[in-house]
């Protein structure tokens, strides 16, 4: 029971309801981290996972706005994003397999035949 607890716990200065802006800012942070991973990492698989992180951040925005507007449309969009991400993962990983088979490397800087 909280009343019998020896030390009274001070109430945390947290709002009762989470502002919508917190969800959007979390989404922006995750998206920026995805862009950072896309730019910094040189392993092609990690770059691909950073893209998935960006898609997840966008999904969070869709679902948060869906709550705000009290409409199911955002969930549908987020569902379609997931489906397209699954298709993209299948094709992208097949391309990664082919690149590795032809070049024996996963470093994106070494796959530069199209560079002038």
């Amino acid at each position: 029971m909280p009343s019998e607890f020896p030390i009274p716990i001070p109430p945390l200065p947290l709002p009762e309801a989470v502002p919508l802006a917190w969800y959007l800012i979390l989404s922006a942070i995750l998206f920026s981290l995805g862009v950072a991973g896309f730019l910094f990492r040189r392993n092609i698989i990690t770059v691909f996972m950073s893209i998935e992180l960006m898609l997840n951040a966008v999904n969070l925005t869709f679902v948060a706005f869906s709550y705000h507007l009290k409409s199911v449309d955002g969930h549908i969009f987020s569902f379609f994003v997931m489906v397209i991400a699954a298709a993209e993962a299948a094709v992208g990983l097949a391309i990664i397999l082919t690149v590795f088979r032809n070049r024996q490397t996963l470093e994106i800087d070494e796959v530069s035949s199209l560079k002038l």
Binding site: L14, E16, A17, V18, P19, L20, A21, W22, Y23, A28, I29, L30, L33, G34, V35, A36, G37, L39, F40, R41, R42, N43, I45, T46, F48, M49, S50, E52, L53, N56, N59, L60, V63, S66, Y67, H68, K70, V72, H75, I76, S78, F79, F80, M82, V83, I84, A85, A86, A87, A89, A90, V91, L93, A94, I96, L97, T98, F100, E107, D109
Partner: protein, 165 residues
């Protein structure tokens, strides 16, 4: 309670995302991505998206990440080699990304309407029944096109993964 849950899982998500970017071995990055997806599923539940939360865990954290880990294992991917100097894009990206993030945060704080905020149970339109109704009435055409897209993706993956390419 809502704010505490949000902050807990938002912290986990951001920590896992930072770990994804900083780890050099792809397997560590993949496991961090699973952490991000799991905590995002909890946030979807807080927002009233039961179906999306379940799909997030089953399709994203389950199927897609298993595919990633499978490919990492198959290719025997090792940790990235250290380079002497960072690439130009990495040097330019940090201030640009920081500026972008601050700009977005400012815009969100000023432009997003101050509603009553998000409370668990405030929206219950994300159940599988509601999603299914919207998917098979309003969004029937995109839904059917999606099946064609997936068929093409399967064919593409099979063609690309053949021996002779």
């Amino acid at each position: 309670m809502d704010a505490l849950l949000f902050l807990t899982f938002a912290t986990i998500a951001v920590a896992c995302a930072i770990n994804l970017v900083l780890q050099t071995h792809p397997i560590a990055s993949a496991l961090s991505l699973v952490g991000v997806m799991g905590s995002l599923a909890v946030l979807y539940l807080l927002l009233g998206g039961e179906f999306i939360a379940a799909v997030q865990v089953i399709v994203y954290a389950g199927a897609i990440m298993v595919l990633f880990v499978f490919v990492i294992m198959l290719l025997n991917a090792a940790a990235e080699k250290k380079t002497k100097k960072p690439a130009l894009r990495a040097v330019v990206a940090v201030p640009l990304l920081f500026t972008f993030l601050m700009l977005v945060a400012y815009l969100i704080q000023t432009q997003v309407p101050k509603g009553p905020g998000v409370q668990f149970g405030g929206f219950s339109g994300g159940s599988p029944a509601d999603i299914g109704r919207a998917l098979f009435t309003t969004y029937i055409l995109p839904f059917e096109i999606t099946s064609v897209v997936i068929l093409i993706a399967i064919l593409g993956a099979v063609v690309l993964a053949r021996k002779e390419v």
